[in-house]
């Protein structure tokens, strides 16, 4: 099982409603996976870099973190705390340096995402509870991806929840299970990719990040995944400007898409799409097996 939702807006007028629409879609998918839930939102690029940090002890870890990080980096850092997550804003060229410093300053905290547009929030629990903790309905953005998990390949933990992000402004969610993730993880680790979990989906995310780092575009990276990943998958991926979908050649993990002149939407089931504006006249279809779909802003 697992439930996936995704929304890529073509029309800027819907951007203030992105979080609300995506949350509604995700909550509808709760019974496909009640273990944990997560959402990646691509917000406005205001010229700042963003790191979303998660901590099991937010009071301790986030106390005065903006000032401390600003001091060691020697630049202006702002911070917005939302429950167990904090979004740190800083100059984009300092992102990788900031990540290294954060690992020293707050070893208990984990980076959920880093980039110029992406924020990832994920926790164990039902989608409605996770959405409320982070006020997801109040978020605006140009595109976003949500996932509700029924764990099969690794433990039910915050880090095992989706979306996974293994590169700047990149994220991936997965319905299915991969069977060659251990050998692929070893191979990618030799190429310098780092892993936080034993999860199969993180390997798929790192695989795509590795391809993108080596010059592939999103479409090419997804095409290559069809040859190199073994197992069941419906993936939805996000990049700073793009949104992509691919299913394995057997395609037993469900997927429905809808497109209007205002948006492209993805749901594991049609139920997730029924409250979208104009759905009755939208083009609704199931993505073909072993076929890459992607859209760019």
């Amino acid at each position: 099982m697992c439930g996936i939702v995704g929304l890529f807006l073509k029309n800027r007028s819907l951007e203030p409603r992105l979080g609300a629409m995506l949350t509604d879609m995700l909550v509808t998918m709760t019974d496909r996976g009640p273990d944990s839930a997560g959402i990646a939102i691509y917000g406005a690029d205001d010229g700042r870099g963003k790191i979303t940090l998660q901590s099991p002890d937010p009071d301790q870890d986030f106390a005065a973190l903006d000032a401390e990080l600003g001091r060691v980096l020697g630049c202006d850092v702002d911070m917005q705390v939302k429950d167990s997550h904090a979004v740190l804003g800083l100059p984009p060229e300092r992102l990788s340096e900031a990540r290294a410093k954060l690992a020293e300053l707050r070893p208990g905290a984990r980076v959920m995402s880093a980039g110029e547009a992406i924020e990832i929030y994920k926790e164990v629990g039902l989608p409605k509870d996770v959405a409320a903790r982070f006020d997801l309905p109040g978020m605006s953005g140009s595109h976003g991806i949500g996932h509700t998990r029924m764990a099969t390949e690794s433990a039910v933990t915050t880090l095992g929840a989706h979306p996974f992000s293994t590169g700047a402004d990149q994220c991936l969610v997965h319905n299915g299970s991969l069977s060659n993730h251990n050998s692929l993880r070893r191979q990618l680790a030799r190429d310098g990719m780092t892993f936080e979990t034993e999860n199969d989906t993180e390997v798929a995310a790192a695989y795509l990040s590795n391809k993108l780092q080596n010059g592939s575009n999103l479409g090419e990276a997804l095409e290559a995944s069809l040859n190199d990943l073994d197992g069941f998958f419906t993936f939805v991926v996000g990049t700073k400007y793009g949104f992509g979908v691919v299913r394995d050649p057997i395609a037993c993990k469900p997927a429905v898409m809808a497109e209007t002149d205002q948006y492209v939407a993805f749901g594991s089931e049609y139920r997730a799409l029924v409250n979208l504006p104009g759905i009755d006249t939208a083009r609704v279809w199931e993505p073909e097996p072993a076929t890459v779909y992607f859209w760019n802003h």
Binding site: A251, P254, V256, E269, A272, V274, W285, P289
Partner: protein
């Protein structure tokens, strides 16, 4: 005619009412299906049920006697294990439409996704559009009629179901072969096309069936095990 607002009253109430069939109330309309699962499953009476919208998993599963019309698209497993009656989907159908069906007629006016008619055991399925890969896998009996094209591995490990395709077949599965169209097949097809409201000439179809080479174990293959 009874109208039932699924969004307001819920699935269990709906199916309980349809199961507690009263001979004075045979016509039903269901509003606001919104992709819900298991709409009108397990019916066993000559009801006429119209669903005004698209359905989720397993709509009209295990149907006996009833006619169920979906005025939208259907999710996975529509009319799964149907015994008799008629199910008509006006839009597209998702994976494994009509799977394991033992009787009755399933008509899909749009396209059907993968595994349409998988393990069918006597049901007749007419798809006005195309069907996806691995359709009629291990199909045992009944007829699958496709006015459009068929995806890869059609009829893999087929038993005695008859497959009729008017368009292209991407590839045939193991032990599935093209067979000659004899007059009795033209007659079966003419009847099915007419009952499915399909505007097509039976002579334009090709028939596929089992080569029956997988029915018995060949000692030559023993080293493969």
């Amino acid at each position: 005619m009874q109208t039932f607002d699924l969004a307001a009253r819920g699935l269990r109430d709906l199916n309980a009412k349809l199961h507690a069939h009263n001979s004075n109330q045979t016509a039903w309309e269901i509003d606001n299906p919104k992709g819900s699962h298991a709409i009108a499953v397990g019916l066993d009476a000559p009801l006429e049920v119209v669903v005004n919208g698209s359905t989720g998993y397993y709509c009209a599963g295990m149907n006996k006697q009833a006619t169920v019309v979906v005025k939208g698209s259907a999710g996975p497993g529509v009319a799964e294990n149907m015994m008799s009656g008629t199910v008509i989907v006006e839009g597209d159908a998702s994976q494994y439409a009509g799977a394991t069906g033992r009787g009755g007629l399933l008509v899909i006016k749009g396209n059907a996704a993968s595994r349409c008619g998988i393990s069918m055991k006597g049901i007749d399925i007419v798809v006005h559009g195309n069907i996806g890969h691995m359709s009629a896998f291990m199909a045992q009996s009944g007829n699958l009629v496709v006015l459009g094209d068929a995806g890869a591995a059609l009829g893999d490990s087929l038993y005695e179901a008859r497959l009729f395709v008017r368009g292209e077949v991407k590839s045939l599965g193991a032990d599935c072969v093209e067979k000659e169209m004899r007059p009795e097949h033209i007659e079966i097809l003419r009847d099915l096309l007419e009952r499915a409201g399909a505007d097509a000439r039976p002579e334009d179809f090709r028939r596929y069936g089992s080569a029956r080479t997988l029915y018995n174990f060949h000692v030559d293959n023993v080293s493969a095990y």
